[in-house]
């Protein structure tokens, strides 16, 4: 197909066929992870900078691995201990990276719109959003779609229930868009203190009771609970949160047989998910990690190696 994107800021305007193109490419890429020589020359000579202003382990490592498997040259630029801590603006950082010849920048930033801002300041480089504030995490959504589609075959008319801290989650915002674009129905659930006031505009049905949300779900998607939210008084205690909104045996009993469990990681065992649920066969959590590398390879490849120039 003809590809029009040079980077990934969010997937809100992506068509279903564009999403499917990336997922199809990813399945070709996943095979590479099992080869004796895990490297192909597709992005040889491309310089990719990973610019992380917020702590991240799996997204950063996943991007870095994907870049290396495609033979790109990789630079890691972390905010702490860099010129940013000396007061450099994001715009100057963008120009600096471009002057160094970066072909692409992967950015994670706490501010909403940081990736989009960076892409406007860069004349030539592609920008990949690895999470901006509570706005979007498009590569996470795509890897979730890939993982779910691989397991369920098709996502048409499948039901996905996101449970947890919807308010602060960029994962859920991109996830709702992605799953709906693929024909799935999405429900959100969680404590009302962690639900945005405009939840009606997210494109999902709000079900205050997580047990009811789980009752007809094909996929239970648990959102990470950030412990500092408790100090802000969003919920009384981790234990109480777990009892009412976490994934445990009682919740699983209410869900249909064969329901899949997903989580963007890192998981808080005993908070949003009980250990035995996270480690159960129906948990796709480690599958998501593996898919993440394949999907990011596919995205880098279609945006940087592709046909748009």
């Amino acid at each position: 197909m003809e590809w029009r994107h040079t980077g990934v800021l969010d997937i809100d305007t992506w068509s279903r066929s564009e999403i499917e193109h990336v997922l199809d490419q990813a399945s070709g890429m996943e095979e590479l992870l099992d080869r004796p020589i895990k490297k192909v020359p597709a992005l040889r000579g491309k310089l990719i900078v990973n610019l992380f202003f917020e702590p991240s382990t799996r997204t950063k490592v996943s991007f870095e691995l994907a870049e290396k498997l495609l033979s790109a040259d990789v630079l890691n630029w972390s905010a702490s201990g860099s010129s940013t801590s000396k007061g450099e603006t994001l715009r100057d950082t963008a120009w600096t990276l471009e002057a160094m010849g970066a072909d692409a920048v992967v950015i994670r930033h706490g501010a909403v719109g940081a990736a989009e801002y960076l892409s406007r300041k860069m004349k030539k480089s592609s920008v990949f959003n690895a999470g901006d504030g509570a706005h979007a995490h498009p590569t996470q959504a795509l890897l979730d779609l890939y993982t779910a589609r691989k397991k369920l075959g098709s996502l048409e008319n499948k039901r996905v229930a996101f449970i947890g801290d919807v308010l602060h989650s960029r994962v859920v915002r991109s996830g709702i868009r992605g799953f709906r674009a693929m024909g799935a129905e999405v429900t959100i659930s969680g404590p009302s203190t962690l639900m945005p006031l405009d939840h009606g505009q997210l494109g999902a049905v709000y079900e205050p009771d997580p047990f009811a949300a789980a009752a007809n779900a094909d996929i239970l998607y648990l959102l990470r609970i950030q412990k500092e939210r408790q100090e802000q008084g969003m919920f009384p205690s981790i234990d109480e949160y777990h009892r009412y909104y976490g994934a445990h045996d009682e919740l699983m009993e209410r869900a249909p047989q064969g329901v899949m469990v997903m989580h963007p990681g890192p998981i808080n065992r005993g908070a949003e998910i009980a250990s035995n649920i996270a480690d159960a066969p129906e948990s796709l959590i480690l599958g998501q990690v593996r898919s993440g590398v394949a999907v990011r390879m596919a995205l880098l490849y279609v945006c940087l190696g592709g046909s748009h120039q």
């Binding site: 197909m1 003809e2 590809w3 193109h21 199809d24 490419q25 399945s27 070709g28 890429m29 095979e31 590479l32 080869r35 004796p36 020589i37 490297k39 192909v40 020359p41 597709a42 495609l70 596919a298 490849y301 279609v302 190696g305 592709g306 046909s307 120039q309």
Partner: protein
């Protein structure tokens, strides 16, 4: 727009040519020991499976066969208008110490074969690699030659050779087309 100019090979021609190529593979390798047929995605895969059938008829041996996708090894990605999808690569045997016969439909610039050789070397170290193509249309840009060739068809640069296989295209034939402005 592509305009069909002439049929270069009919289904019967293809059958005869592939049968002859199977004989040549057998002759040159003095049997089929350690021979592995590897078809290049996508039409090379179907031609490889035809060759495998003919070799089976001749020697009553099913040689191992695999498929190779070279998309990630291409050097002309930015020139392609439509983005190719990465297909699967799977070779069921260890390529190290094997005698690989690469199978493709058309030999043109040689760049696909260059990419295929790189892809193959990443999977192991074969004892030797031979190349079988149904049509050699000329215009090579690299020092690559076919060991087994179905037919040499001299072409001009604005012509296109289309190999059709019944599995994908509904029938077996090779046609020569010409690009013309729409």
């Amino acid at each position: 727009m592509l305009k069909e100019k002439a049929v270069v090979m009919t289904a019967e021609d293809m059958e005869r040519v592939l049968n002859r190529m199977a004989h040549e593979i057998l002759e040159k390798n003095r049997g089929l020991e350690r021979v592995v047929l590897v078809g290049i995605q996508r039409r090379g895969v179907y031609l490889a499976s035809r060759l495998r059938e003919y070799l089976h008829e001749l020697e009553n041996v099913k040689v191992p066969s695999g498929v190779l996708d070279i998309t990630l090894y291409r050097d002309d990605l930015t020139l392609l208008h439509d983005q190719p999808v990465v297909h699967s690569t799977s070779i069921p045997v260890d390529v190290t110490n094997s005698r690989i016969v690469l199978v493709d439909d058309v030999l043109f610039t040689g760049r696909t074969i260059r990419a295929a050789l790189d892809a193959l070397m990443d999977l192991g170290r074969p004892d030797l690699v031979q190349l079988a193509v149904l049509v050699d249309r000329g215009h090579k840009e690299l020092p690559i030659h076919a060991d087994y060739m179905g037919k040499a068809v001299p072409t001009s640069r604005n012509e296109v050779i289309e190999v059709r296989v019944s599995e994908l295209d509904g029938r077996d034939e090779v046609v020569i087309c010409e690009m013309e402005d729409a």
